[in-house]
C-alpha cells in the first residue's frame, strides 16, 4: 500500500495570473517509509502537502492524480475529501501552536471533533490517554485551555490529535522550525515512534532543515521552484547526491568541528525564479554550475536512474547513458 502521486499540478490564482507553485510532481511513498521533503522557501513543498489535505482557494487544482492505498484522492472536491481527512490522511500543520480553538478546553474540543466525525469519544478515550503518555503529556491537558500550555506542549497535543485515528498518511509541515534543538530531537523521535508503532503507515516530513531528515528519514525528496529535483534514500542524498542543486545544498551545510576562519561558509548564489512566469527549460539553470545548452530549452523529466534514485537533470542523464 502506498501513496502514489502522478504529475500533480496545483497553481495559485492571483490577479496577475497563475503562480505555478507545484508543476508536475510524481513520486511514491511506501508503507513504513518516512520521506523527507526539503527545499528552499517557495519551492512548493508546503503547496504539495496542503494540496493533498486541504486544497482551497487561492489554490487551484490543475491536473494530475494522487492515489492513497489504491484509492484516488478527490483533492479538488472539498466535501468528498472529508471522507479521507483525519482517518486516512492527516497533517500536523505549520501553525500547530495556534491550531487549537483558544476558547475551548482541549478535551472538549477533541470530543466535539470526534463526535462530528462520527467517532465515539468514550471508547477512544483510553487510547487517547495512552498516546498522551507516549508524548509525555499529562492527562490534565484535556481539562486545560490551549493558552495554558507551552508551545512544545501544544505541538505535541496536535501530534496526538492528528494521529488519533491512525491515518495511513501523515504529513508533518515544518514542525520543528519553532522549537529549540533538544525539543526538536524529542519531536523527531516521536515521529519515528509513531511510525514504528504503526500509528501512521507513511510519513512525509516537510522541512528546510536537512539535518533532521538525516536523523529520521528513510528517503529524501528535494524540490526546487515547483519541480522535483531529486529523490533517493537518505544516505545517498547526504553522501552521494547527484543533482547539482542537491550537491550545493548539502555542501552548504555547516559541518561540526570545522572552523570557518579556514573555510568560508558558502551559500548558493542567486535566487529562485519567480513562478508567475517561470523560465523555459530547467528551472535551476540560472544558478547551476554545470548547465549547458539543453538545459536552456528543454525541461528535464523526473526519472529513475538507479533503483530508488530519481533525478531531473540532463547532465546526470548524459552520465548514465
Amino acid at each position: 500500500m502506498s501513496l502514489k502521486v502522478k504529475n500533480l499540478k496545483v497553481y495559485y490564482q492571483t490577479l496577475k495570473g497563475d503562480v505555478k507553485a507545484l508543476d508536475g510532481a510524481t513520486f511514491t511513498i511506501g508503507d513504513g517509509e518516512i520521506m523527507g521533503l526539503a527545499g528552499e522557501s517557495g519551492c512548493g513543498k508546503s503547496t504539495l502537502s496542503n494540496s493533498l489535505i486541504l486544497l482551497k482557494p487561492p489554490m487551484r487544482f490543475v491536473g494530475g492524480r494522487a492515489e492513497l492505498d489504491n484509492e484516488e484522492l478527490p483533492i479538488w472536491d472539498m466535501e468528498k475529501m472529508n471522507n479521507f481527512r483525519f482517518k486516512k490522511i492527516s497533517t500536523i500543520p505549520q501553525y500547530a501552536m495556534n491550531a487549537m480553538n483558544p476558547i475551548r478546553k482541549i478535551g472538549k474540543m477533541v470530543s466535539e471533533i470526534l463526535k462530528y466525525r462520527k467517532v465515539d469519544f468514550k471508547s477512544t478515550l483510553p487510547e487517547l490517554k495512552r498516546r498522551l503518555d507516549l508524548v509525555e503529556l499529562s492527562h490534565d491537558v484535556l481539562n486545560m485551555y490551549p493558552l495554558e500550555l507551552s508551545g512544545g506542549m501544544k505541538q505535541r497535543m496536535v501530534m496526538v490529535l492528528s494521529t488519533l485515528m491512525n491515518p495511513s498518511l501523515l504529513m508533518a509541515d515544518e514542525i520543528t522550525s519553532a522549537l529549540d534543538v533538544s525539543t526538536q530531537k524529542a519531536v523527531a523521535k516521536m515521529l519515528v515512534e509513531f511510525r514504528d508503532r504503526e500509528f501512521v503507515k507513511k510519513l512525509m516530513v516537510i522541512t528546510h532543515d536537512i539535518s533532521i531528515l538525516y536523523q529520521i528519514a528513510d528517503s529524501i525528496m528535494i524540490m526546487y521552484a515547483g519541480k522535483l529535483a531529486e529523490k533517493a534514500p537518505t544516505s545517498v542524498i547526504i553522501n552521494s547526491p547527484r543533482h547539482p542543486y542537491t550537491k550545493l545544498l548539502i555542501s552548504s551545510l555547516p559541518d561540526i568541528g570545522v572552523k570557518y576562519s579556514q573555510k568560508k561558509l558558502t551559500g548558493i548564489p542567486g535566487k529562485p525564479p519567480l513562478l508567475l512566469d517561470p523560465p523555459t527549460g530547467c528551472r535551476f539553470r540560472e544558478r547551476c554550475p554545470v548547465a549547458f545548452k539543453k538545459c536552456l530549452n528543454e525541461e528535464p523529466p523526473f526519472m529513475e536512474i538507479k533503483k530508488g534514485h530519481f533525478i531531473a537533470c540532463w547532465k546526470e542523464f548524459e552520465k548514465n547513458a
Partner: protein, 330 residues
C-alpha cells in the same frame, strides 16, 4: 482576579466622580439664575418677587459657598434627593424621573437585546451564504448609517400618517389610565411599536455588519483551517467561529451604550414618548437645570451599571481572561 476587579471598580468610581462633578457644574455654569427663571414664570409683583427670590435661593441652597454646595450635592444624591424641578414645580426631580424610568426600560431593554441577538444571527448567516451576504450587507450598512431620528420620523410618517396603523405620539391614549389591565397593556404596546422598531432597526444593522466581519475573520484563523484539515463538517467550523466572534460583540455592546442612549433620546422626542430622553428635551427647552441634572445623573448611573454588568459577563464567557489572570502557564 481580585486585582482586576478592584482596578475596574476604581475606574468606574473615578468616572462616576468626574461625571457627577460635571453634572453638578451645569446649573452653576448657566448664566442667569435658576431662581430667576423660576420666578419669571410666575409673574409676581416686584415686592413679592424679592421675597420669593431670597426664599428660593435659600431653599435651593444657592447662597452657600460653592464648595459647600458641592458637598451638599453629593450628600443629597446619597439620600436620593435630586432637588426640585423648575419646570414641573413643585414636584421633586426624583419622582419625575422615576415615572419615566419604566417607560425607558421597556423601550430600551427589548430593543437593545433583541437587535443584538438578531443582528448577530443574521450577520453570521450572511458570512456563510453568498446571496445572503449580498442582501444583508447593503441593508445593514444603510440601516446603521441612518440617523435614529430620521428613521423614527420615517416610520412615524409612513405607518401613522400615510397608513394610519399606529399612533404617532405618546405611550398611551389620552383617555387611558395607568393600570395593569389588558386594555392598558394593549394600548401601550400599540404605541410602543413604532419607537421600538425604529431603535431596533438601526441597531440591528450595526450588529449584523459587525458580526459578519468578525465571523469572516474567524473563519480565516488557524484553528478554523486545522478543523477543516481534520475533516470537520462546516457546521462545527461555523459553530466555533460564531462562539469566538461573539466575544468582541459583547464588548462592542458596552461601548455602544452611550450612542444608543443618544439615539433613544431623539427617538423619544419624535414620538413624544415619555422616557427620560423626552424629559431632557423639555428640561433643556425650559432651562430646568435640576431636572437636567437629575436626568443626566440617571443616565450616567445606567451606563456605568450596564458597563459593569457587561464586564462581568465577559469574564465569564472568555476563559482567556480568567486564565490569564491566574498567571498559569506550563
Amino acid at each position: 482576579m481580585k486585582q482586576y476587579f478592584t482596578r475596574k471598580l476604581f475606574i468606574y468610581l473615578l468616572t462616576f466622580f468626574i461625571a457627577v462633578t460635571i453634572d453638578w457644574l451645569i446649573p452653576r455654569f448657566m448664566p442667569g439664575n435658576p431662581v430667576q427663571v423660576l420666578l419669571a414664570r410666575a409673574s409676581l409683583h416686584a415686592e413679592a418677587a424679592k421675597e420669593m427670590y431670597s426664599y428660593y435661593t435659600k431653599a435651593f441652597g444657592l447662597d452657600l459657598p460653592l464648595w459647600k454646595q458641592y458637598l451638599n450635592f453629593w450628600i443629597a444624591i446619597f439620600h436620593g434627593d435630586l432637588g426640585t424641578s423648575i419646570l414641573l414645580f413643585p414636584q421633586p426631580v426624583i419622582k419625575i424621573i422615576m415615572r419615566a424610568v419604566p417607560y425607558d426600560i421597556f423601550l430600551l431593554l427589548p430593543s437593545i437585546l433583541l437587535s443584538w441577538f438578531a443582528g448577530n444571527k443574521f450577520g453570521a448567516f450572511a458570512a456563510r451564504t453568498k446571496w445572503l451576504d449580498n442582501t444583508v450587507l447593503p441593508i445593514g450598512y444603510i440601516l446603521t448609517a441612518t440617523p435614529y431620528m430620521w428613521l423614527a420620523i420615517l416610520l412615524g410618517w409612513a405607518l401613522a400618517m400615510v397608513f394610519p396603523i399606529f399612533p404617532l405620539a405618546y405611550a398611551s391614549s389620552p383617555a387611558m389610565k395607568l393600570s395593569f389591565s389588558w386594555m392598558f397593556i394593549g394600548d401601550y404596546l400599540w404605541h410602543w411599536i413604532l419607537p421600538f422598531s425604529s431603535l431596533f432597526l438601526v441597531m440591528f444593522g450595526g450588529w449584523a455588519i459587525g458580526m459578519r466581519n468578525m465571523i469572516i475573520y474567524e473563519l480565516e484563523a488557524d484553528y478554523s483551517h486545522y478543523l477543516e484539515a481534520l475533516g470537520a463538517p462546516r457546521k462545527l467550523v461555523r459553530r466555533y467561529a460564531f462562539r469566538n466572534a461573539i466575544l468582541p460583540q459583547v464588548t462592542g455592546l458596552a461601548l455602544q451604550l452611550g450612542i444608543i442612549m443618544a439615539g433613544a433620546l431623539v427617538t423619544e422626542v419624535v414620538f413624544s414618548y415619555p422616557g427620560i430622553g423626552y424629559l431632557i428635551l423639555g428640561a433643556i427647552q425650559n432651562q430646568d437645570f435640576f431636572l437636567i441634572q437629575g436626568c443626566f445623573l440617571f443616565i450616567i448611573i445606567e451606563v456605568l451599571i450596564a458597563n459593569f454588568l457587561i464586564d462581568v459577563l465577559y469574564i465569564i464567557i472568555d476563559p482567556r481572561i480568567r486564565i490569564g489572570m491566574g498567571g498559569k502557564s506550563a
